[in-house]
Symmetry: C2
Amino acid sequence: MGIEGAVGRQSAVVLLSGGLDSATCLAIASGKYEVHALTFDYGSRHSREIESARRLAKHFKAKSHTVLGIDLGAIGASSLTDPDIPVDTHKAAGEIGKSIPTSYVPARNMTFLSLGIALAEAKCANRVFIGANSVDYSGYPDCRPEFIAAFQKAADLGTKAGAEGRGVTIEAPLIRMSKAQIIKKGAELHVPFGMTWSCYSGGEKPCGRCEACLLRQAGFREAGIDDPLGR
Amino acid sequence: MGIEGAVGRQSAVVLLSGGLDSATCLAIASGKYEVHALTFDYGSRHSREIESARRLAKHFKAKSHTVLGIDLGAIGASSLTDPDIPVDTHKAAGEIGKSIPTSYVPARNMTFLSLGIALAEAKCANRVFIGANSVDYSGYPDCRPEFIAAFQKAADLGTKAGAEGRGVTIEAPLIRMSKAQIIKKGAELHVPFGMTWSCYSGGEKPCGRCEACLLRQAGFREAGIDDPLGR
């Protein structure tokens, strides 16, 4: 990264949950841009993910890392934010994605992208990276390419950056990749998978039974790579 | 509101800041729907508005009132959320709207609408009301009808409700009304204007100099109605 990279390097906001998708997304973005990481503390059941996000932001030398508190628990209606709704468990990854799961958080990516755009405006960044993917997307409607494209239009019209003609571009580099492809890409970019966290339950070790764990296991298996988090 | 109204009355989420636009919007919505009010506690300089929102929600017999904490101060870049950026002051309402003001909060309506849609999904409501208006809009790009229309498309694609074919419709009944027209509409619907709060500075009494105060004063004057908050 000689002088060329150092002078006038463009910057990007990366939505960083601490999971392996967003970690891979961070690796991709930080290869090209100065990165501002953005993590949401949204009243999900555990803060294990946030700790992973902090470590990843540091590892990839993010220029800044904003942890933004947002009380999605006030809305509820998801097993990730409402303790009264149990997390779905499955025996195998193949069972997942037949319907929208209880872990769906209403309008989550819409909210997170809005805030990503907001931070991009504040930091004069012209890109927002999101690790959404539609292949192993578990039935989340807000991980589909059509949604991202429609949201881009709304963002172009609804922001100062857009109104002033220097819009913020949403990048979803993983959107058409399978979990195994994401893991291979992450390995190629030296993502420290041991720092990432996927499990929805958030104990000391991954539960191995929630949809996030099952997709992760199946992905590592298919990629032929060992998961440093074990199970 | 006979039996017809009582049985199967549809419900709506109303974004309620506590200002006179959102109060009028609440009055409009509560005439037709069972209302769930949603107020954001977003680290703006004062909580005077939130108290107004609480009183208004009670006055209009909202079925529920959610006050959702969101730390927009972590993003900053607005005089409403960053104490280091001064609130614009003006001598007259005519000076306002020539450029995007310092009170612009990056991607605010995008974020608030996303959360409004989220609450609508959680409450099985099929409408979200927002008091945005584009006439005295002070140069906020996210108050324009084109933005609302584009956001609607994104919401249809990015939500469970949309994916299941029962979308959430965004209603912006004030979008083409001037402040004076909004005040006349509010008066017609018996909005208790004394409960509303517009001033950005948030002391005991309105400051009379910020853009919100000036637009309010000019609106009441033009409508030929007395503002119970005085100046």
